[in-house]
């Protein structure tokens, strides 16, 4: 019957089928609010309060995805975040999000979802051929199959990526949604709002703690919401929960976060939470972000994550229609969905009997198959009293069906379930509810480096000691019984409040009535199927990664004895579910294969995130233009109005060049470069780093910081300085000016400004705290216009500067305070072009006024604005280096031919001793040279490598690289600088620069000085 309904649903794509598996009443869904949704192009109806999974099951849709490796049909296994199979893609266009667990997707009107990992369709998938070829896909088959030839890897990878992988990301990459980040602090963070978590939060809150309670579900209560056989203080679970939540909500210091997953637990109680704010809404209000990332620093944490039910490992256990028993109960009681009519409950413990009773009450036929022989206890009696047949010492050995469970094979088995003792019988059924015992969800505890211990009775790992200020409570602590879990939560809440320095409230635990059951499962890890070892239909351990029991056995036989190796080799416990349902079964089967005990084999480390977190939430609003600040100079408006193109220099936007109508970049740069040498150019140099240095020891400090001498620099004088790291390598350069006896103005490179300030602070604070020096970054305080060229002085005069510009009165490398158009300015006569040059500094806010005033004054002289590209060409014509272009952190002043700037008499400066190392004098160090191409029109690409013999066999002996290369209109040819091994010894010789296309550029090694080598133009 199930199959025929599914087929019909597939055929009539527009019709919304009835919810055939919906119970007549009950559940926490709102039957007055029907909701329509679309899955794989077919419309369905569900109710508000449904998850996508419960609504699909209500419509008898079990087949929801194809598996990762074998493309086997897969259905819904669980009812919570541990779901390994039902991964769907939700939403359309740019809003599509892959790999969401259908069990966590709340239904809303118009919800659009698709299955994943199937081609061309869910019911007919060509990849399923992998399943037929199963013997070719053993554990580690990627490693074995795609090893050789190495050159084929790119091809393999393409095919693998297409065939494997999980969901597809959105087709459009511009996410239209908004995300937020929020920082929060609290005394107690409670992760998980089941009984234990609620009780813990209540106790902590009553004790006066600031509490954050987060739960991944849409409402608090956890598993309790799916139990119909429990009363708390005489009330239904839902009634009791509502009371507790109401009390918590009324307390100001309590923050309740439903739909919020605590997904990461980091050092010092720092936790990250994703709150799904609007994902459940059909039409979210505009003011809300889609998701919020909470970054919480908690004084204490209480981890009440609950437990995950384990599947049983038997042949065919992955068929749609095979579900976890606890999940089946949740679907019946919480969602009013009965996922089958002819049902088999297969268990090794008492808890599944509650599911048998729930199925029976819902009107389904039930058979209980229990691996245990000796059945005792109230639940077993209740089940038998209800007229349900119970087979003890039996197992479901094989489940079969094509796209849905159709029949099971049941046989008597030995104590551990591994051996079939007698002939099996067959039974038709459409639902198998399995229970292999519970595993505490210790993910957060483990992320926080808490230790785990094996519980021999409960057959699970549970927390033993914590590493952070943290408590475990409830099922996550191995306390599965409702009454005990509440007591455990109460205890943890009190302990956390006490640890946070509060007085613990006197709270009594509520009275619980619940079935009296044993929580001890039978150890039965791998169920026999009557075939030989490793034969017969596949029995899955990890559903999400398609890891079978035989894969684990194979890995053990191939020598993967460590559980960490097993994980990587078989991929067990990887991917989005992080082994929530598979870890313990995998470990147990490995332990068995190795002949060791489970605790000896140990566990793998759980990684964050607990469930996948969207990148959008992590990025928050730090995207697009808000990713990093963009810094603009005060003249930016003028540059834009005058057609400048820009380049990024660090965070700054600098004018790159100013193309006029029809000009190419090269045309524009040539024009700007020529103007600066024939009349005058003007550059916006506001971005240069500027540091104000004051204090009685300022000169002494500079003397130690720079390689040259600073003590005797006169007031009003400028000096160029080179700054080294203590390893002797150049780190920055710039001109520093003495403004007063104890006052200097330092300039740094644009990109190096922040780093240089930090560097200076470091030395002052950590090495020379005795020096009285105070540093202030003043980069943003000054706007700087650099006038450069033979007419620079005339333009300044035309602009009305109120000082004499005579070289005698205002010599090179000095500073004068003056006024231009009534505004006070500092004028520095320094030059990065080799021309007569003035760097005019003005209070930042007057930058644009100064610039436009100078442009007007210079109009008659043909004053030309030039950008950073022309600046580079002009300085390269003079052989001036740029730190970070010619240098790369491995270059000394000597390598640059700048020995002249390194003091031989100063007792010490940063880098001095390192420069004296023997290795610094080696002749084959890379040294700065100029390159003059034989073909004068040919500009060498920057980064090109030079060789002596272009005919040498590859790999050739490389001399070094071209660091700067331009066409120089002033020279009428190509110029370049390069760092070449033993470069100065090559002077006058020829080097070759082989290009990728086989072409070879030939160049002569020359002095890195192409224009005005005697410096005659500096005074105009």
């Amino acid at each position: 019957m199930t199959k025929s309904v599914m087929t019909r649903a597939g055929l009539f794509t527009r019709a919304a089928p009835q919810q055939l598996s919906r119970s007549a009443g009950g559940g926490r869904i709102d039957r007055s609010k029907p909701v329509s949704f679309t899955f794989d192009g077919c419309s369905y109806r569900g109710y508000e309060g449904d998850t996508l999974a419960s609504a699909l099951l209500a419509n008898n849709v079990h087949l929801v995805g194809r598996s990762f490796k074998y493309h086997r049909p897969r259905g819904i296994l669980a009812a919570g975040s541990e779901e390994p199979n039902a991964l769907v893609r939700v939403g359309r266009g740019a809003r599509a999000e892959p790999n969401l667990r259908a069990t966590q997707v709340e239904l809303h009107e118009g919800l659009y979802a698709e299955s994943q990992n199937r081609f061309p369709s869910l019911k007919f998938d060509v990849g399923a051929i992998n399943s037929a070829l199963q013997s070719f896909f053993p554990a580690g088959f990627y490693y074995k199959t795609f090893m050789w030839p190495a050159s084929m890897w790119m091809t393999y990878e393409h095919v693998i990526r297409h065939a494997a992988g999980l969901g597809r990301v959105a087709d459009e990459h511009d996410d239209p949604d908004r995300y937020e980040r929020i920082h929060a602090h609290c005394d107690v963070l409670v992760a998980g709002g089941g009984v234990a978590g609620l009780m813990a939060a209540l106790q902590a809150a009553r004790s006066g703690a600031r509490v954050i309670l987060a739960d991944e579900q849409n409402e608090f209560g956890g598993w309790l919401l799916g139990e119909a056989d429990v009363t708390i203080d005489g009330d239904t679970p839902a009634g009791w929960i509502a009371g507790v939540v109401a009390e918590l909500a009324a307390i100001d210091d309590v923050t309740l976060l439903p739909r919020t997953t605590v997904f990461g637990y980091m050092d010092h109680n720092y936790l990250t939470l994703t709150e799904r704010v609007t994902d459940h809404m059909a039409s979210p209000p505009a003011h809300l972000p889609r998701q919020r990332l909470w970054k919480v620093r908690a004084t204490q944490t209480i981890l009440a994550q609950g437990a995950h039910e384990r599947p049983l490992v038997f042949s065919g256990n992955d068929l749609p229609g095979v579900m976890l028993a606890g999940a089946v109960r949740t679907y019946i009681n919480r969602y009013g969905v009965v996922p089958g009519n002819r049902t088999v409950v297969f268990t090794n413990n008492d808890d599944a009997y509650r599911t048998a009773l729930a199925l029976d009450s819902a009107g389904a036929h039930v058979l209980v198959v229990d691996l245990r022989r000796d059945l005792r206890g109230e639940l077993v009696k209740s089940v038998r009293a209800a007229g349900i047949e119970v087979l003890s010492g039996h197992a479901v050995t094989i489940a079969s069906g094509t796209q849905h469970l159709a029949r099971v094979q049941i046989a008597p088995v030995n104590e551990g379930g591994s051996t079939v003792l007698d002939d099996p019988f067959h039974m038709d059924c459409d639902l198998l509810a399995m229970s292999g015992g519970l595993s505490p969800a210790v993910h957060l505890h483990s992320q926080a480096r808490g230790k785990l211990g094996w519980d021999d009775r409960l057959l699970c790992f549970k927390p033993t000691t914590v590493h952070e200020a943290s408590f475990n409570a409830g099922a996550g602590n191995g306390v599965f019984d409702t009454e005990k879990a509440i007591a455990d939560g109460l205890k943890a809440g009190g302990a956390a409040a006490k640890a946070a320095g509060l007085t613990v409230s006197d709270t009594e635990a509520p009275a619980i009535e619940a079935p009296n059951q044993s929580w001890r499962p039978l150890a039965a890890w791998k169920i026999g199927n009557g075939y030989g070892p490793g034969q017969g239909p596949k029995a899955f351990v990890d559903f999400q990664n398609d890891v079978t029991a035989s894969d684990v056995g194979l890995a053990a036989r191939e020598g993967y004895q460590s559980v960490e190796h097993l994980k990587r080799y078989t991929t067990l416990g990887m991917a989005t579910d992080q082994g929530k349902t598979s870890n313990i079964n995998g470990l147990a089967i490995l332990a068995d294969a190795l002949g060791r005990e489970i605790p000896e084999v140990g566990t793998t480390t759980f990684r964050m995130p607990y469930t996948p977190a969207s990148i959008g939430a992590i990025a928050g609003r730090d995207i697009g233009t808000l990713f990093d600040p963009t810094r603009l100079t005060r003249m930016d408006e003028w540059h834009r109005a005058n057609g400048a193109t820009f380049e990024h220099v660090g965070q700054w936007m600098r004018a790159w060049y100013y193309p006029k109508d029809g000009e190419t970049m090269q045309d524009a740069v040539n024009r700007e470069v020529l103007a600066a040498r024939t009349t005058a150019g003007i550059l916006d140099a506001s971005t240069l780093g500027k540091i104000d240095i004051r204090g009685p020891d300022a000169a002494e400090f500079l003397n130690r910081l720079y390689t040259n001498s600073w003590l005797k620099l006169g007031i009003g004088k400028c000096r160029y300085g080179l700054m080294l790291k203590d390893d002797g390598m150049v780190m920055d350069d710039g001109v520093t000016t003495r403004l007063g006896e104890n006052h200097f103005h330092m300039t740094t490179t644009t990109g190096g400004a922040a780093g240089v300030l930090d560097w200076m602070e470091e030395w002052l604070q950590t090495e020379w705290p005795d020096l009285k020096v105070y540093l202030t970054s003043v980069t943003e305080e000054w706007s700087v216009a650099t006038l450069s060229g033979p007419n620079a002085a005339k333009i300044l005069q035309a602009a009305g500067i109120d000082i004499s510009l005579d070289t005698a009165d205002f010599p090179f490398m000095s500073m004068r305070e003056a006024h231009i158009a009534g505004l006070p300015v500092r004028v520095f006569r320094i030059s990065f072009t080799g021309e007569l040059s003035y760097e005019i500094n003005i209070r930042a806010r007057h930058g644009l006024a100064l610039w436009t005033h100078l442009m007007a004054a210079g109009e008659a002289f043909g004053l030309t604005p030039y950008g950073t590209e022309a600046m580079h060409v002009l300085r390269a014509e003079k052989g001036f280096i740029i730190v970070g272009q010619e240098t790369d952190g491995s270059v000394t002043p000597q390598d640059l031919g700048m020995d002249w700037i390194v003091s031989k008499v100063k007792p010490d400066f940063i880098g001095k001793r390192a420069l004296e190392r023997a290795s610094m004098a080696m002749e084959d160090r890379k040294q700065l040279v100029g390159l003059r191409t034989r073909d004068r029109r040919r500009v060498i690409p920057e980064g090109a490598h030079a060789v002596l013999d272009p005919n040498e066999e590859m790999p050739m002996t490389m001399l070094g690289q071209v660091t700067s290369s331009y066409y120089s209109p002033n020279i009428g040819g190509s110029i370049a600088m390069a760092m070449l091994k033993g470069g100065r010894a090559l002077m006058g010789g020829t080097v070759y620069l082989p290009m990728l296309d086989g072409d070879v550029i030939e160049a002569e090694v020359v002095e890195p000085m192409f224009f005005d080598p005697k410096g005659e133009r500096i005074n105009g």
Binding site: H268, N269, D726, D758, T766, E767, P769
Partner: protein
């Protein structure tokens, strides 16, 4: 994400700080001669211990001040935070300081103005 108590600003997230690596590496004075190998101890060699580590940190996105911190590299426990220019006060910090191989290096000795002291000693004898 460590919670670091800046001596000037109070407890703040690690993301506001930058780590400056091993603390208590004295810079040899230029007046003392060292071989290249001895100098390399100062210039290049840095510890990476398992356990307590004395480090320099800076409140980069705050007051920009440097300080010392004794942090366990395994547990991430911050044992103490103490000012630049002083040594650790805790027993564990003192022990880690004393146990460092660096205490016996010529580079560390060369950070002190040794010759004068030696001259004085010679006068006494």
């Amino acid at each position: 994400m460590l919670l670091i108590t800046c001596p000037h600003c109070g407890p703040r997230d690690e993301s506001e700080f930058s780590c400056g690596g091993e603390a208590h590496i004295a810079r040899p004075l230029a007046e003392n001669n060292l071989t290249d190998a001895e100098f390399a101890d100062y210039l290049f060699l840095r510890d990476n211990p398992k356990g307590l580590f004395l480090e320099r940190w800076r409140h980069a996105a705050g007051c920009r001040r440097w300080f010392n911190m004794a942090r366990d590299t395994v547990t991430h426990e911050i044992v103490e935070i103490y000012p630049m220019g002083s040594g650790p006060a805790s027993q564990a910090g003192k022990a880690a300081h004393a146990a460092s191989w660096r205490r016996d290096t010529a580079a560390e000795a060369a950070a002190k103005p040794a010759p004068k002291a030696r001259a004085k000693k010679e006068q006494v004898s």
